[in-house]
């Protein structure tokens, strides 16, 4: 069901988001990999497949190591965007597979929502793509990253 953005309510110091290829913003209360484990169908995955990746790496389920990395990279390739705001230093990291006109529009809407939620337009964001990393601000993202 389509929902408008809720603006009210306290903002935690550490925030995590999954943004779907269609631009849906998912605010997480846990780790990114937990959401993949808890709602694999949302990501077009099967729980047995996810477990098999962890088993192949010999890692405990939900741990943040190589299996998680493999799964996250696969999701980025499918168009999912991961965003995390760290407290110290106060900075964002956004993982997006590639920057094209579609992902830039999705990111612009995401950044506008974050600004509206009370984050500074001048918050630093480390943009991590498969082509490399760059430092930008939320405002620059909301304007389409020129």
């Amino acid at each position: 069901m389509e929902k408008s953005v809720k603006i009210s309510g306290p903002r935690s110091d550490i925030e995590g988001y999954w943004v779907s290829p269609a631009g849906e913003i998912h605010l997480l209360k846990t780790k990114h990999i937990d959401m993949v484990f808890d709602t694999p169908e949302l990501f077009g995955l099967d729980i047995e497949y996810i477990k098999a990746v962890f088993d192949r790496h010999g890692e405990e389920y939900r741990t943040e190591a190589n299996a998680r990395r493999e799964i996250l990279i696969m999701l980025f390739e499918k168009g999912w965007i991961r965003a995390r705001r760290y407290r110290r230093p106060a900075r964002w990291t956004i993982n997006v597979y590639s920057l094209n006109s579609e992902t830039k529009i999705i990111l612009a809407r995401f950044a506008a929502v974050m600004i509206r939620r009370g984050h500074s337009p001048y918050d630093e964001v480390k943009l991590d793509t498969h082509q490399g990393q760059s430092m930008v601000t939320l405002k620059e993202i909301s304007q389409g990253l020129h």
Partner: protein, 168 residues
């Protein structure tokens, strides 16, 4: 220079705001209390800069009357039969911060207000982020006419929203 002196930007925004009112397109973020007042605040502002990236066009300006608290509006609209959508983001910065509007559009043609940036030789000067620049004939640049823009809006006349989901 006042934003309203750019006649194509003004016509573009007036067309867009009328479209919002006629089709009851609301903001997905802060609600717009009065479209006419908001438009007037933008048009009376001082134009600062224009830049674009394929798909997103942004105009920086400075409000004539400063605000103490920033205002952010996002109006998303699109086709009823698909997920295709466009948006107008309006960010009015507090105190001395600059404000901007940015318009996103999927498609190969540029919005009609780009004609305001055609120089006296009939060329559009494009400055790239690497410092290089070139001039292009606007005919080869594929800019929508206002008639084409009206047709585009007629197809994109449905309210769209940002989908926001809190995960337990």
């Amino acid at each position: 220079m006042e934003l309203r002196k750019y006649k194509n930007i003004t016509r573009f925004l007036v067309t867009l705001f009328n479209f919002f009112k006629e089709n009851e397109i609301g903001s997905s973020l802060q609600p717009v209390e009065d479209y006419d007042i908001l438009l007037e605040r933008i048009l009376e502002s001082k134009f600062l800069n224009f830049h674009y990236n394929p798909g997103i066009y942004s105009i920086d300006f400075r409000l004539r009357k400063k605000v103490e608290k920033s205002e952010v509006y996002m109006l998303i609209f699109g086709e009823g039969s698909s997920d295709k959508s466009a948006h107008l983001l309006i960010d009015l910065g507090e105190r001395d911060l600059t404000s901007f509007i940015s318009f996103s559009i999927h498609g190969e043609k540029h919005p009609p207000f780009l004609m305001d940036f055609v120089d006296e030789h009939g060329k559009l000067k494009i400055e790239y982020t690497d410092g290089s620049a070139e001039e292009q004939n606007p005919d080869g640049f594929d800019i929508m006419t206002f008639e084409e823009f009206a047709l585009f809006l007629a197809e994109y006349n449905r309210q769209k929203n940002i989908k926001w989901i809190e995960v337990d």
